[in-house]
Amino acid sequence: MGFDLQVSKRLGDAEIALRLEAGEGLTVLFGPSGAGKTSVLHMVAGLLRPDRGHIRVGGVELFGDGIDVPSERRRAGYVFQEARLFPHLKVAANLRYGAGRNAAIEEVVQLLDIAHLLDRWPRTLSGGEAKRVAIGRALLSDPAFLLLDEPTASLDRGRAQEVERAILDIRDRLRLPILMVTHDRLQAERLATTMVEIDPMRR
């Protein structure tokens, strides 16, 4: 079971409305920029409250029918479009921020090839390095599902391919439901199990 969303939200004078039902695997949310894709991810993560609707992931009700699970208890592994690493913590501490005692840090570090970055400060990382650390941090927080917002934007082609491989690995080996936003149709076709188009916001 994957994502089951029906949300609407008024932001300013625009309205985001989306209905999405997807099975296991990786669901790509595809659409023009400004369609509210990131807002949908924020709603699933609990950082933005829908006006109406419901949000279920893996059969668990996160929002709707009077339920509104707080963000910290939704177990969303959210990789933001900007890495959002904590600038006052080194890479290792960023990775450990949401990790439990038994988190497989070494495994994730290997998967993402970031062992040489552990002792660095976030501000010294390149865009691609920061993105991989952000993915690792999300994976280590014992997520029930992943939210990826343009995970390969700002990366050069080699790095983008590596990150795509890591995403496929996560999809097929860890079997986490993934909701991913991209505006790259080819990438969407390469990675998606299910593809959902979001319409431009109604005004």
Binding site: E72, G77, Y78, G98, R137
Partner: protein, 227 residues
């Protein structure tokens, strides 16, 4: 410069004690108010803001007199009058009240400068509101917190009008450096003493500023290179 007399050392020690106690006592209050003003949305916020900043613009004598009325034996805080009136604790209260607006202002700016998207990221990683506060918001607003503390301490050391109105000019209790300088200037032969005490207050203030700058540099260095 000649060595300090025991009396002068006493004045310096009292000034430091009043300044440190005033600053440390005002700090949590300043942080709470700064937080409320930076993050809170409630009716009457502008009024709270105005009241907090009031000591900055009202003549200090007026603030001192209000304190005197409040802490007078028959006043609303009269139960505390024995421990406060003509005592160093009263001087610390006056200094703290006068320093509060400056501290609130500096701390508020630093809280407002914290990237709230980082707090959102921390929440998705499982951190509840308190953990977000202690591990993200507070460390990231530390530079402003430090600046506010130094500013408050410097303001406390220089406090004069509210103090002399509220708790008078009692040697050994409320006679901090500025009040001692004022007292010296009232005496026909006091110029030399006033000069020494003035030099002393410049030295103390300078030491505080240099110490804070060094601390800030070490913090910045720790952020960039690791401790």
């Amino acid at each position: 410069m000649h060595g300090l007399t025991a009396e002068e050392w006493g004045i310096v020690a009292l000034s430091l004690r009043v300044g440190v106690v005033a600053t440390l006592a005002a700090l949590p209050l300043a942080f709470a108010i700064a937080w409320l003003l930076a993050r809170g949305r409630f009716p009457g916020k502008i009024l709270i803001e105005a009241i907090v900043y009031l000591p900055l613009v009202v003549p200090p004598v007026v603030t001192g007199w209000f304190l005197l009325v409040a802490f007078a034996p028959a006043g609303p805080l009269g139960v505390l009058s024995d421990g406060v009136l003509f005592r160093w604790t009263g001087a610390a209260i006056a200094a703290g009240i006068m320093a509060l607006p400056l501290m609130v202002r500096a701390i508020r700016l630093s809280i407002e400068a914290v990237d709230r998207r980082l707090e959102g990221a921390a929440r998705t990683l499982g951190a509840g509101p308190w953990r977000v506060f202690w591990t993200i918001t507070l460390p990231l607003s530390l530079p402003g917190l430090l600046a506010g503390t130094v500013l408050g301490f410097a303001r406390s050391l220089g406090e004069f009008g509210a103090t002399i109105t509220f708790v008078s000019n009692v040697p050994g209790q409320t006679q901090t450096l500025p009040l001692a300088i004022y007292a010296a200037l009232q005496r026909p032969d006091g110029d030399a003493i006033a000069l020494r005490l003035s030099a002393l207050s410049v030295a103390v203030a300078l030491a505080a500023l240099v110490a804070s700058e060094l601390l800030a540099r070490r913090m910045r260095a720790a952020m960039v290179h690791g401790v």
